[in-house]
Point group: C2
Chain length 122, copies 2
């Protein structure tokens, strides 16, 4: 899987070289964060997370979420599985119904990434 083994970064004497002032994100760190963002980078999944977070108790059952979209139940179930696999949603089965809840701190971690991490220049 891991293909890269990069070194050669700087050649002295070139005019276009921009020195690094901060510490950029490592390749391993990027490969770890990207799936989180990829899980959120979909209009339907974004609305799903929003709907769940805006529900009472921070949780919602699938039947409610299903009615909020013009999509098949199979598709909604797929999107919920993606969000759950990414660690963004918690799954709780109660009887016939399944309740999904936003995992505490999951979204805050994403926000923190763009707030205090190496991504923000100033």
């Amino acid at each position: 899987m891991s293909t890269a083994e990069e070194m050669t970064m700087s050649e002295p004497g070139l005019a276009c070289c921009t020195p690094l002032t901060g510490t950029p994100m490592s390749a391993a760190q990027a490969e770890q964060v990207a799936p989180l963002l990829k899980a959120l980078a979909d209009p339907v999944r974004l609305r799903l997370v929003s709907l769940i977070a805006a529900s009472a108790g921070g949780e919602a059952c699938v039947c409610d979420l299903n009615d909020a979209f013009d999509l098949t139940q199979a598709t909604i179930s797929h999107h919920l599985k993606v969000l759950h696999s990414a660690g963004l949603l918690d799954r709780d089965k109660r009887g016939v119904w399944v309740y999904y809840a936003v995992r505490p701190g999951a979204l805050a971690a994403v926000a923190n990434l763009f707030d205090t991490a190496v991504l923000t220049p100033a």
Copy 2:
């Protein structure tokens, strides 16, 4: 685009209904934010933004970025175009070299989305 006309699946008197306490994200808003996240949801692009932000002056030229990856120059150019088209990067051509800079406030806007928006339950 819109394929289905959904049938009303809701029957009154069901136990699984979860009332909304907050205001969830609208479909239009989700369609507007998703491309931003989709542009960031790639390990290479994440590192590109990080490298640019960590560079002196918050900008870096393509030749430097190109050396940081084991990828073709065409691929790096493609990723930079994606980030630029998404409004995350500013492009500035100086002579032969092209400098990319993180658009001010772009990442803060994403962070703000997960901080104060309807996505955070508590």
